[in-house]
């Protein structure tokens, strides 16, 4: 955490604030940009300022909970976050009693969204175990067709078979590639949105 650059800090802060409205998000990041600006004018390095600011995730969490400076410290917050992943029905944790100072509604929504994305992530993770080998298999089918074509074509009369094999191969390859890309996209998206 100590060797972070200004860009990394702001990026992480921005990412963790994804559930806030864009204007509010920009406003918060602008505050920190100003902090870096002034700090650099006073001769501090980006790394030094980052160290003083602390963990961007901890900062973001304080904004999300609407409890600036009065509530959790970073390690506890991180522990709570990972703990929420464990139970099979994590939606329940969103309804757990928790002291809230301001704007409770968007904050609960934010938590529920995150838990929903976590569920999506784990489901797609399980699916991926089957989907990736299937995708690889599909993409390898054209190879198998080419090999078998060497032996088959002399035996089968006419060019009809060749056209059929080529289109089958292309179809399988495209299907496999599509499955691979969709799976990867879903995993990435749900991983980011869940804030894991």
């Amino acid at each position: 955490m100590t060797d972070m650059t200004k860009f990394e800090f702001l990026q992480q802060l921005y990412d963790h604030l994804s559930s806030l409205p864009p204007s509010e998000r920009d406003d918060i990041v602008a505050d920190f940009e100003e902090h870096f600006q002034v700090g650099e004018e006073q001769g501090k390095t980006e790394e030094q300022i980052c160290t003083e600011l602390g963990n961007p995730y901890a900062c973001a969490l304080q904004y999300l909970r609407g409890t600036g400076g009065t509530n959790t410290s970073a390690p506890q917050a991180a522990a709570q976050n990972t703990a929420a992943v464990q139970p099979p029905y994590p939606q329940k944790t969103a309804a757990s009693p928790r002291p809230q100072n301001a704007a409770p509604a968007p904050h609960i929504n934010e938590r529920r969204n995150k838990t929903l994305w976590k569920v999506v992530f784990f489901i797609s993770l399980v699916c991926a175990i089957g989907a990736y080998p299937a995708a690889c298999g599909l993409m390898l089918i054209p190879l198998a067709l080419i090999v078998s074509a060497f032996f088959l074509i002399p035996a089968v009369p006419g060019g009809a078979m060749v056209g059929f094999l080529i289109s089958l191969g292309v179809l399988c390859f495209t299907g496999g590639l599509l499955l691979f890309l969709v799976m990867t996209w879903l995993l990435r998206l749900s991983f980011r949105r869940s804030g894991l």
Partner: protein
């Protein structure tokens, strides 16, 4: 020092600093960070919350060296809150001091 304890008094520190005059975010974070061992980043969420609760207002002011800075100014509600917290703090520290000194039983 205990982290929870420090965070609780941050509010009083920030309000007291602003009572002396308008300041921008970095000044507040820097002043507090120098005296109290805390992540300076936690000042900004606090500033945002206190502003939302109406304890201070913000305005932009040009700086001689760079872009305009966001200044914080205490509202009358903020002045009241500062006095209230200061009173609580004095009362609390007096009680604790009494325990430490062995005067209270």
């Amino acid at each position: 020092m205990n982290t929870q304890f420090k965070k609780g008094v941050l509010e009083l520190c920030v309000l007291s600093l602003l009572k002396q005059g308008d300041k921008y975010g970095y000044e507040l974070a820097d002043s507090v960070g120098k005296k109290i061992d805390i992540s300076e980043g936690s000042i900004y969420p606090l500033l945002k919350r206190l502003r939302a609760e109406g304890y201070f207002e913000v305005y932009l002011k040009e700086s001689p060296t760079g872009p305009a800075r966001k200044y914080y100014r205490l509202t009358s509600k903020g002045v009241e809150m500062q006095a209230h917290l200061e009173g609580e703090w004095r009362e609390f520290t007096q009680s604790v001091s009494a325990f430490i000194g062995g005067d209270a039983t």
